[in-house]
Amino acid sequence: MKNTWTTRPRARALGALAATLALAGAVAGPSLAAAQDETPARVLVVLAKEAAGPIDPALRDVEALQRPPFDAFRSMQVLDRSRVTLRRGSPTNVELPNGRRLRIELQQRLPDGRFRVKVSINRPAQNDYLPLLHVVASPGEPFFVAGQSHQGGTLVVGVYVGDAG
């Protein structure tokens, strides 16, 4: 009988611990999986022209656009800024001002913190502008896709993948 008295609280404690662990697993499991399967990203669309004009103040912090060859452009205007969530296996689309569509798909989060992504730019029923681009993106180091003609200038599309973006 004595043993019964002592084992009941122990059993209750073990039960509570198991329930806690189960609850923690239920909560943390999906979130950990989600952390592996999705990441925030930012897409910056800039219209750059060689004609003299203003440089959008929002680009002051984008140092890459102040360096060659981008410094050949004497005016830059931010046309769009998009914050998106990239999900593994589910492409994210961003409409570009020229009617094309930027498609980004998260493929893998690498152990070193980088993200392997697949990118394309196309327009329905037309030849692809950029059929396929495979990038391993480091958070904080953007990659740009530039060269599309638009309104007498050139579109510069910057993609920041990860939390540092």
Partner: protein
């Protein structure tokens, strides 16, 4: 290959022929053999780029909205092999090369194969002698192990393009750029 013996402004003026004869001789005298070879490489590269820009439709190349066409010409010219010793060696971007999927059209392009053209593009487009375009191939492999953005492969489709990196004042990489010509601006896109 070093031009460090003289400052950037003098290098640029030397390349542009803006130095007085005496100044030019003095600047050259300050360079070692490798520096002079690098300088000659810069000059040959610049001449190739200018020749490309003066091509059949140079007028179009100079239109502000035709920078993509200009890039295509530059890329083509830069892709030609260096003819002489002393031409700048070009640093490869980190990343793997991809075998051509359609070799006849050259659509799939590995980053390594593009790096030479890309660096040459920067060498020419940079209006000043920046630190990035021409560099020794050897030491570049060291930072490649860092977790940086890499373009693994790109399919330019029917277009022409190149991949290059933008670097800061200290040679640090700021971004990777995929530049693709846009031969057929969209009617509905306004450009």
């Amino acid at each position: 290959m070093s031009l460090d013996a003289i400052d950037d402004d003098r290098v640029q003026r030397l390349l542009d022929g803006d130095l007085a004869p005496g100044e030019a001789d003095a600047a050259r005298a300050e360079l070692d053999d490798a520096g002079r070879a690098a300088l000659d490489g810069h000059r040959r590269l610049g001449e190739a780029m200018r020749a490309a820009a003066r091509g059949r439709d140079a007028e179009a190349a100079l239109r502000p909205d035709e920078s993509d066409a200009l890039f295509a010409r530059i890329t083509a010219a830069a892709a030609e092999p260096a003819e002489a010793e002393g031409a700048p060696r070009l640093r490869a971007l980190p990343g793997g090369a991809t075998a051509p999927r359609r070799p006849a059209r050259g659509r799939w392009v590995g980053v390594g194969a593009l790096a030479a053209a890309a660096a040459a593009v920067l060498a020419w487009l940079g209006s000043r002698p920046g630190p990035t375009p021409v560099a020794d191939a050897g030491p570049a492999s060291a930072p490649a192990a860092e977790a940086r953005t890499e373009v693994l492969a790109v399919d330019f489709g029917q277009n022409t393009g190149t991949v290059f990196e933008v670097e800061g004042d200290e040679g640090e990489r700021l971004a990777v750029v995929v530049w693709i010509e846009d031969p057929a601006p969209l009617a509905g896109g306004g450009g």
